[in-house]
Amino acid sequence: MALLEVKGLQKNFGETRVLADITFSMERGEALSIIGSSGSGKTTLLRCLNFLETPDAGQILVGGETLFDGADTKRPSDSEIRRKRLHFGLVFQAFHLFPQYTALENVTLAPMLAAGEQKELTAEKKAAIRAEGEALLAKMGLSDRRDNYPHQLSGGQCQRVAIARALAMKPDILCFDEPTSALDPELTGEVLRVIRELAEQETTMIIVTHEMAFARDVADTCIFMEGGVIVEQGPAKEVIDHPREERTKQFVSRIQA
């Protein structure tokens, strides 16, 4: 059974249709890349999955559980939304690290607060969360940076902390919104390397990116979006190297030129 199913998702901003009838599914352990020009609705799609935007219609299911159904007229409560969005993690283009916390504190803050809410924040639990945060930073190659504040880190390091922070909540599906677009070219490599490692470890991921080679090599499947619709989807290598649709061909050749 598919881990994530998105059916007929629609989103309008006023009169503008940003997403029109988005339907796709993905399996556990799959890495999905989403390509397309700016304004094609890629970011809005990720924001809908993370409940930062409410779709106007359609359904979102994770592991068979309906998280969102546009036909439901009842507004879910804040705590329901919080529980639902924990199926997803989101890594932003501009990192959005918390500036007043160290790299390690950025990673452990949300797990600590969640444990505190369950009245489970014992000394052992704290130590466990801390150890887990340190392990995540080590995985990102940032062990020596754990006590640094975001302003003391490079963009690539910040983005890697942000990835560790998202992983700390153990999401089923980790979403990346153009994770390297805010970085200097020489820093994109270190972030892409980390995402590639996550893909090798079968992390379920949706990656919105402009890096064509990366979208092809790291992702299993690829979606090309334009004007709020999915123009083409399939195995990443086919969509990018041998696109069937005319619009995909134009986009891929323009980007790779």
Partner: protein, 218 residues
Amino acid sequence: MFLTVTASLLEGFVTTVRLFVLTLVFALPLGLIISFGSMSRFRVIRLPIRFLIWVVRGTPLLLQLLIIYYGPGIIFHNNVWGSNDGGRFTAALVAFAVNYACYFSEIYRGGIQSIPVGQQEAGQVLGMTKSQIFFRVILLQVIKRIVPPMSNEIITLVKDTSLARVIAVYEIIWSGQAFIKSAGIVWPLFYTGVFYLLFSGLLTMLFSHIEKKLDYFR
């Protein structure tokens, strides 16, 4: 004579400091509530709050003191404040707290709205509650940004407390002025300036200390 004057001025100064401290105690949190009201999604909350802020910031504090103290007596024929020293002090405190809360609320609002929405969203996608996001993520960043304008406003409050003498709150200027009538000397009035300078100097040091403390992040 100098010692007598100093002792008498100190007595007035205690009232000044009391008014200052209590105004802050009430105005700092009240300002936060007003700033939330002024940012509310609901017009029925937002518009009256904006109106209040406009009225309070648009009229002299001196006038507000007079209206709050004499108003109830004139309008309802009922002087709710009583006519003793404590009543006048309370009336002054209410006027100062409301006035300063409105000024603070605008500083808070500016500070809160200057925090990138990404901070809020980063907290949300990590499953934090609204209050966790506000208190654990947003608040300290807001405080860092508002320390300079707040220190300005708070130092203004030190001197504004002297307006309370218009409804006969015996603060330090009142004490100084009393010597003109009783002893025919003017210098105690000028001497009060030293107290203000020392006090605002102390506050300036405190605020630059806080600014330095918050310098560890950007």
